[in-house]
Subunit: 220 residues, 2 copies
C-alpha cells in the first residue's frame, strides 16, 4: 500500500476531478437552457452517472483510509471533511441535473422576454464552487472566506430574478409555467452556492479550528 | 472514558433527539403556514439554533470516537453514516426554517383558495423522516426500504400541488406571489423527503452492504 501522504494526495485529486465534472455540469445545464440545446442537456444527464460513481469511490476511499491508517488530529479532520465535501459535490450535480431537466421542459416553449440574467448568476456560482474546492486543497482560509462573501451576491441575484419574473407573470399569465421554471432554476443555482458555502465553512474549521457554520442563518 | 458500546449508544440517542427536533420543526412550520400562526413560525427559528448546536456536537462526538476508538468494519461505517445523517437532519431543519419564512411572508396576504393539501404532504414527509431514523437506530433494512417507496408518493403530491397552483395563478394573476410561495413550500417538503431518502440509502448500505444510492436518479 502506498504511503499515507500519497493516499491523501490522491483523495485531494479525486475531489478536484469531481469538482471539475460538477462545474462543467452547472455550466452546460445553464447553456442548455439559454441556447435551447437539447444535446447539452443530455450530456449533463450522462455526466451525472460519472459523478455518482465518483461519489461512491471517493467515499470508499475515505473510509478505507480511516480504517487502515487510523489517522489522528488534522488528518482525521481532513478525511471527515472530504466525506462531507464529496457529498456536497454530488448534490450540486443533482441540482445541475434539475436545471437541465427544466431546460428540456422549456425547449419548445416560447421564450420569456424578462430581463433575467441567469448566465451571470451561474457564473458567480461556478466561481464559488471552484474557489471552495481550491481553498480545500490549498487549505487557504482567505479563499474560503471569499466564498462566504460570494453567497450574498448570489442571494441578491436570486431575489432580483424572482421579482422580475413575478412582475412578468402578472403582465402575461400565459407565461406562468415558463416563469415558474425559471424561478426554480435560480433556486437550484442558489442551492449550489449554499453547498459551496458549506464546503468553505468546513475549510475554515479545518484551517482555523473555528466553527463558522451557521454564521448567518437568515438565508432562505 | 465510557465503554465504546455506550458511546455508540449515546450517538444513536443524540441523533434520535435531533430527529425529534427536526420533525417538530417541519410540523410547526406547516402549521404556522396553515393556521397563520406567527408565534409558531418564531418557535421554528428558535428551535433551529438548537438543531445547529446539536449538529456541531454530534459531529464532534463522531470524530472523537473515530480518533480515540479507531473502530473498524461495521462500527466505522456506522460512525461515518452518523456524520452524514447528522448533516441530512440539519439540512431538513434548514428547509423547515425556509417554510416558516414563507409562512411569515404569507401571514398578511389574502389566502389562496386552491385545493392544495400541503398538510397531507407534510404528514407523509414527517413519517419518512421518523422511519428513516428508526431504520438507522434499529438497523432495519425493511423499514429503510419503505422510506424509498414513500419518496415516490411525496413526488406525486408535489406535482399535483404544482399543477393546481399554476392553474390557479393563470385564473387569478393577483395571487401569483402567494402561489409561488406555496410552490416553494411544496418543494422544501420534497427536499426534506430527499434527505430522508438519503438516510434510508445509507442504512441499506450499512445493513445489506448494497449501495443503493442513485437507484433512481430521474427525480427533479
Amino acid at each position: 500500500m502506498r504511503h499515507f501522504e500519497e493516499e491523501l494526495d490522491e483523495l485531494r485529486k479525486r475531489l478536484l476531478e469531481m469538482s471539475g465534472l460538477v462545474e462543467a455540469a452547472i455550466y452546460r445545464s445553464v447553456q442548455a437552457l439559454v441556447e435551447k440545446d437539447e444535446a447539452l442537456a443530455h450530456q449533463v444527464f450522462k455526466n451525472e452517472a460519472r459523478v455518482n460513481q465518483m461519489e461512491i469511490e471517493i467515499d470508499e476511499m475515505a473510509v478505507r483510509l480511516l480504517a487502515l491508517e487510523q489517522p489522528v488530529a488534522s488528518d482525521l479532520r481532513f478525511i471527515t471533511s472530504a466525506i462531507k465535501i464529496n457529498n456536497d459535490l454530488e448534490r450540486m450535480g443533482d441540482n445541475a441535473v434539475s436545471i437541465a431537466e427544466r431546460a428540456l421542459s422549456l425547449m419548445h416553449e416560447p421564450p420569456v422576454q424578462a430581463a433575467v440574467d441567469i448566465p451571470y448568476m451561474s457564473s458567480l456560482v461556478e466561481s464559488m464552487v471552484r474557489k471552495a474546492l481550491d481553498s480545500f486543497v490549498k487549505k487557504d482560509g482567505d479563499l474560503a472566506r471569499s466564498v462566504l462573501l460570494g453567497d450574498d451576491a448570489v442571494d441578491d441575484r436570486r431575489t432580483e430574478i424572482y421579482e422580475e419574473l413575478v412582475r412578468y407573470m402578472q403582465k402575461d399569465p400565459s407565461s406562468i409555467p415558463q416563469c415558474v421554471s425559471l424561478i426554480s432554476v435560480a433556486r437550484f443555482l442558489e442551492r449550489i452556492a449554499d453547498h459551496a458555502t458549506n464546503i468553505a465553512e468546513d475549510v475554515l474549521f479545518l484551517v482555523d479550528g473555528v466553527d463558522v457554520r451557521h454564521h448567518a442563518e437568515a438565508k432562505t
